[in-house]
Subunit: 283 residues, 2 copies
């Protein structure tokens, strides 16, 4: 059997009882290590599970299905994923490869940032399409996600912005030399995301666009380490979000709908930096 097990968002104890039981009995256990992170390291997980884990980086997962998947009917293999197993396309692909080989697959679900963001009080049923904000480079500065935020706002919906993560990305040099060297890991902060959104706004203003989907003064909600002991949430203007300190990763950002439900406003109030400014933004 091939088990794909969600680990949730926080630490070792966020696994489900069912998931933990399976890990303990499997022949091999892989830890997917490149699409997200927990607040604890692999060693802490190994100690809690009472067994060693095999690190599964992008190279292994995308090309090593044969190595990962059970080799026969009697072998049980677990593949551990931060959040819920269906968050990333590569895991879906691995499940398909298993089914091609007639290997039985079982998925153990867990919490995902896509629903855990409910903790800021914005109703989960009022979200539109989720977007991803990638790190810009000098030559690649995509802004197509702006249109998705605009489209959500037009329909009175919130937008969850997932922020870029770079784990074990090869350096340009190492690609050219065909020698493996990796860049240090990077996790986009809400400050960086807010700065990119403001740059997009400024470009649109410079190009003479009117009726912008949001402004420097629009309400945003920044969330850090959702589901962890030191979870931190701040509701403030996009402008102020460029210099709020939410601490270590992972961060995500929400651009709420223009009009909020009274209960949403009441709930968000506890996370505001400036109550009078918040009142203006939500009137």
């Amino acid at each position: 059997m091939f088990y794909v097990i969600g680990l949730g968002l926080g630490d070792a104890k966020d696994i489900t009882v069912k998931g933990l039981e399976i890990i303990k009995k499997c022949d091999r256990v892989y830890l997917e290590s490149y699409t997200s992170i927990l607040t604890v390291q692999q060693e802490a997980l190994e100690e809690f599970y009472g067994r060693s884990l095999i690190t599964a980086d992008r190279e292994l997962v995308e090309s090593g299905a044969d190595e990962i998947l059970p080799r026969n009917e009697d072998e049980d293999v677990a593949f551990l994923v931060v959040g819920d197993p269906f968050g990333a396309t590569t895991h879906t692909d691995l499940i398909l490869r298993a089914k091609e080989r007639n290997i039985k697959v079982k998925v153990i679900h867990n919490s995902s940032i896509l629903t855990a963001v409910g903790c800021c009080g914005l109703q989960l049923y009022s979200y539109g399409e989720t977007i991803s904000i990638p790190y810009w480079t000098y030559t690649w500065q995509p802004d197509s996600f702006y249109e998705k935020i605009a489209s959500n706002r037009q329909r009175g919906l919130h937008t969850l912005c997932l922020l870029d993560i770079k784990i074990k990305e090869p350096t340009l040099e190492s690609i050219l030399k065909k020698k493996k060297e990796y860049m240090p890991s990077r996790f986009m902060s809400v400050n960086e995301a807010a700065n990119q959104l403001i740059a997009i706004l400024d470009n649109k203003i410079q190009d003479g666009h009117k009726d912008l989907a949001f402004t420097h003064q629009s309400l945003t909600v920044g969330l850090a380490r959702v589901g962890c002991e030191d979870q931190h949430i701040v509701a403030c203007s996009l402008q102020d979000m460029t210099h709020v300190d939410l601490g270590p990763p992972l961060h995500c950002l929400i651009i709420p709908a223009e009009k909020l439900h009274p209960l949403e406003i009441e709930f968000l109030t506890q996370y505001t930096l400036d109550k009078s400014q918040f009142k203006e933004m939500t009137q």
Copy 2:
């Protein structure tokens, strides 16, 4: 401390290790019993947790915050919710009432149907606004959710349809008599949902509408008991969805985007009833 703990979607062992530890040490533990259900009964949970649970029906949750919330700083109370704690507005309200009383609140997240639907292979990032399909009565047959499906389809997005649940709803007679009598529980099946969607389509056709958002032959995906041992998924036309047998509740229904990603098509193929019809629908 007031703990709000998600139970996930399946049985007793879908709780997280962290959640279980908290339940064991709390002074009182409530089980919210009216917005969703697990595949096991309260007795099975009590046996697994090794303690008794207090049933929290709608009346208690919506008017009994004083009764539920901790009475002093030393008291620990847990409130258990199927899925993730932020799925329903009433739980958000309970958290606000706790904060008003300066009671500390801690949330233990878990999987939610909103992300667990990823198991059918449709990418979670390609969903638009989630809709709820309510039971129609002779005098109340709302169809406003049709416009939301249409809007999602226009933008190339999937629509998750959550289906109505009626648990412990007072009978009309009992409201008039002021004597408490409840209707039997009802859980909308994908068949009932598909029939209502077809009725809406037929009304639109009769009213001369063109460019309908979907047709009787559009692809739909029905899911039953997601995350459970006997989970069942079927991909077929809306017309066929009216008579597919997915077994016991809970069901939900997806109206996919018109154009699917090749990986989505490959994944969905395993759930089709008629491969050649499926090929036509996804061309």
